[in-house]
């Protein structure tokens, strides 16, 4: 991999990262919102490194003579050669068998490692596949719903204030349904926003949302079973208004069955900018 190619790969990668973080909100499909400044910084560093590499490459014919005096071992393998045969002839000779050397050691600062070409793959994926936020395919993979967050279970949730339907994150609904000793959901109308996942076994369906801790690789599906409304098409984003159906027995261990909601109204909504909870 020549230095020119190294600079161009860095430019591509830095540009792609800047594109998804600084210029669009696509990064929200992959990581948490708070990660944006780090992504922009990293993309800028990679991009700047690519630019610096290209500038060095551009100016090289002019300062080749100076570089020759400053970098006696640069063209040869990394270490060893330069001390063994100093001088320009040695450089040319060690350059001659430098290919095998670089392949074996991969530690030559002027010729980049071949594996670096793979860094184009995420760039291609970002541009050509344009990976969307995780949807029903990922949510349907784990049938076991995750447990409620443990903290609130100890103290119990705040009672719900106001009247009329209350909009809440699906995670909060699941937590209140499973782990709230005060049973604050009883008789209250709530409004949940999520995408549609249809059960593989029955004709039941769920309104679901993925929860991220750091990036999409650790996403967990939060699901609420919706009763009393026909299932919309898979993966559509909907707003479901309804009331909680308390489980008939307390014997089922937490986390085996998603909490249920009796729907009053199901409306199609556009996909939110922040697809994860």
């Amino acid at each position: 991999m020549s230095r020119l190619a190294q600079g161009l790969v860095l430019l591509l990668l830095g540009g792609a990262v800047l594109r998804i973080s600084a210029f669009t909100t696509e990064y929200l499909n992959y990581v948490k919102p708070g990660f944006r400044p780090f992504l922009i910084a990293a993309g800028a560093v990679v991009f700047a490194l690519g630019v610096a590499t290209l500038v060095q490459e551009w100016r090289r014919p002019q300062d080749a003579a100076r570089e020759r005096s400053r970098w006696p071992g640069a063209a040869g393998g990394y270490g060893g050669h330069a001390e063994a045969h100093p001088g320009p002839q040695a450089d040319a000779r060690s350059g001659g068998h430098g290919d095998g050397h670089a392949g074996g050691h991969g530690h030559d600062h002027s010729r980049g490692p071949r594996v670096a070409w793979l860094m184009c793959l995420p760039v291609f994926a970002i541009f050509l596949i344009a990976p969307p936020a995780l949807g029903s395919f990922a949510a349907a993979r784990d049938d076991v719903a995750p447990p409620p967050p443990p903290r609130e279970v100890v103290e119990g949730y705040e009672p719900l204030r106001g009247d009329g339907p209350i909009a809440m994150p699906i995670g909060e609904f699941v937590g209140r349904a499973w782990g709230d000793p005060n049973r604050s959901l009883t008789g209250r109308q709530v409004r949940l926003t999520g995408f549609v996942v249809r059960s593989k076994k029955s004709d039941a369906w769920y309104v679901a949302r993925m929860q991220l801790n750091c990036c999409a690789a650790d996403a967990i599906a939060l699901k609420v079973a919706v009763r009393g409304a026909p299932a919309p098409p898979e993966n559509t984003w909907v707003e479901v208004t309804g009331t909680w159906i308390p489980p008939r027995s307390d014997k089922l261990p937490l986390g085996t069955v998603p909490p249920q909601l009796r729907a009053i109204d199901v409306t199609k909504v556009p996909r939110p900018v922040e697809p994860y909870e």
């Binding site: 992959y30 990581v31 014919p61 570089e67 063209a75 270490g79 596949i129 395919f137 049938d143």
Partner: protein
Amino acid sequence: MSDKALLDWSAEADSPVPPASWGRRSAAAPLLPWVFAGLVVALFAGRSLFAPYLTSPALQTWSTIFVAICVQALPFLVLGVLLSAAITALVPPSFWTRALPRRPYAAVPVAGAAGAVLPGCECASVPVASGLMARGVTPAAALAFLLASPAINPVVLVSTAVAFPGRPEMVLARFVASLAVAVLAGWLWLRFGRTEWLRVPRASAERGWRAFLAAMRHDLLHAGGFLVVGGMAAATLNVLVPRSWLAAVAEVGWLSVLVLALLAVVLSICSEADAFVAASLTAFSPTAKLAFLVVGPMVDLKLIALQAGTFGRSFAARFVPLTLALAIVVSAVTGWVLL
């Protein structure tokens, strides 16, 4: 002969075979920027051309997870590469010989404990450890640093405390077990490791700004390439293995420890986030979760690829099983004592 060599050198310093490339610079070099420009246009056009057709849910899920792993690791990788380049190019070598104890057996625990100051995840620690070795730090001590730093730094410990509220013993157990594994692995490598297994990266004698840029570019391209390999493997397994399979084995004590250790290897979650995932696996015993937290930052798919790329395959083939076995045993013992 000497004349020709001089000409070659000034024409194409990076050429692997100077006679073949001699005089081709004018033809070959300007081609690449045009290919690149064409590629950029194709990428922007390709989004509207290809994206509407590449909609298979499995492919989309795979690529989302793949891109997420790469995007999430990149800032940490850049941080590690910046630090590593600063170590190799800006810090004088004599600093490390003065900072660390002279005797290798004493240097290992000191380097391991020093891992607590690098606020990053495992992607950052590989280039930093390689930079330390390049500067003459005993490999075993640099390896102890490599293993300890992603698990015991303040950011990771705070996130563990947040993920396990009201359970400070989990943070303590993670710290103790991770540091113990790192120091043990360092000592074992010192006692039984052979120099020819480990490819110690050598720093150029040059220092200063140009060397800084060169070291940074090299490390970033190298580690980045292997990060992509690990990201692809992790995304594939993430899509293929449903997590519900895990529930079945959660009841068996010793098996659950093994299963969560292997899950940590497969999922390749960043060490700053793995505590939240561990906390969500409620069916498992605390000891199994501890194994997940100890193994994850030390052995996972993207880390194996990074280590094999940085230190050589014969190193990774020995060091990875050693670390994995140590991590499982130590976390089982720590869990039994502390949790």
